[in-house]
């Protein structure tokens, strides 16, 4: 059920990116999609009643057994860290294209920006 809600968030982003006519809205839609995917990845690694994948001194002293059965999956977290930075990079590039286009055309509305036939 949580996965489905996450997918709903993804679909809201997709809807926004596909149907909206404002460039900033499109960028926002893409951002929402990225949030949803990141959240989905982290959810895949969650363990009920788990602990963060960081070993403390007390864990080491008491042997790792308890930690092993409780730690959440560190791999999706590493992937999401990468994905967040990638999305920040593409956000920066997208916004700079938007700003440059605003300077050229004086609008954010893509229906008024139609020099190319497609």
């Amino acid at each position: 059920m949580l996965y489905a809600l996450c997918f709903l968030l993804f679909m809201i982003g997709l809807y926004c990116a596909v149907t909206k006519k404002n460039m900033v809205k499109i960028v926002i839609g893409i951002m929402v999609m990225e949030y949803a995917v990141n959240l989905f990845l982290i959810m895949l690694g969650y363990r009920m009643g788990g602990v963060a994948p960081i070993i403390g001194r007390s864990d080491l002293e008491s042997g790792l057994g308890d930690f092993l059965s409780k730690s959440v999956d560190p791999l999706p977290q590493a992937l999401v860290l990468t994905a967040i930075v990638i999305s920040l990079g593409s956000l920066a590039l997208m916004i700079s294209i938007c700003i440059r286009m605003y300077e050229k055309y004086g609008t954010f509305d893509i229906t008024q920006i139609r020099r190319l036939k497609g």
Partner: protein
């Protein structure tokens, strides 16, 4: 458990407002709310590294987004959209959503991660031997900077690429005559 539902519903409501409002600035602020909700949910999902990164990235991303929208002439959206095209895309998206619902039944139920069921999963080894193999107590650090450091090189390169790209797109003068010196 219920905290996840509450936060996710909060994110979804914020997303709907962000998508549907006509004022760009409030739309951007709602994106901030989604990011903040995401950061909280990461914290409850026991991913503190992601929570920290998400919230600081969120702050910077918002600054960038607000730069784009604030003090532009028209922050309000005007003009109608084509009704037919919108209905078609909404229907398509709804169909994909229904198709997607079946997919989540195949995943392990929430709270039982896949790596616990797969005998030779990499994550098992990361948890049990990651500390002695890399010496880092933070296993996420050990994964991103040792086991999967090659990915991180790629990620740093993505950031480098996008920054070079942004400065290229924002440069003052793009074309020059053939023999003219570069300024």
């Amino acid at each position: 458990m219920s905290v996840f539902y509450i936060l996710l519903l909060f994110m979804i409501i914020a997303a709907i407002i962000a998508v549907e409002t006509d004022n760009l600035l409030s739309s951007v602020i709602c994106v901030g709310a989604i990011g903040f909700g995401g950061s909280l949910i990461f914290l409850f999902l026991r991913a503190p590294d992601i929570a920290i990164t998400q919230i600081v990235v969120e702050v910077l991303g918002l600054i960038i987004l607000i730069r784009a929208t604030i003090s532009r002439d028209r922050t309000f959206i005007t003009g109608d959209r084509e009704f037919f095209g919108m209905v078609v895309s909404v229907v398509i998206i709804f169909v994909i959503f229904l198709a997607g619902m079946k997919v989540f039944e195949t995943l392990p139920t929430f709270g039982t991660p896949i790596f616990a069921n797969v005998p030779d999963a990499a994550s098992q080894t990361y948890i049990s031997e990651g500390m002695q193999k890399t010496g880092a107590a933070n296993l996420v650090s050990s994964v991103i900077l040792d086991f999967r450091a090659y990915d991180t090189l790629g990620e740093a390169t993505v950031l480098f690429t996008s920054i070079i790209g942004a400065t290229v797109i924002l440069r003052k003068k793009a074309k020059k005559l053939l023999e003219e010196p570069d300024q």
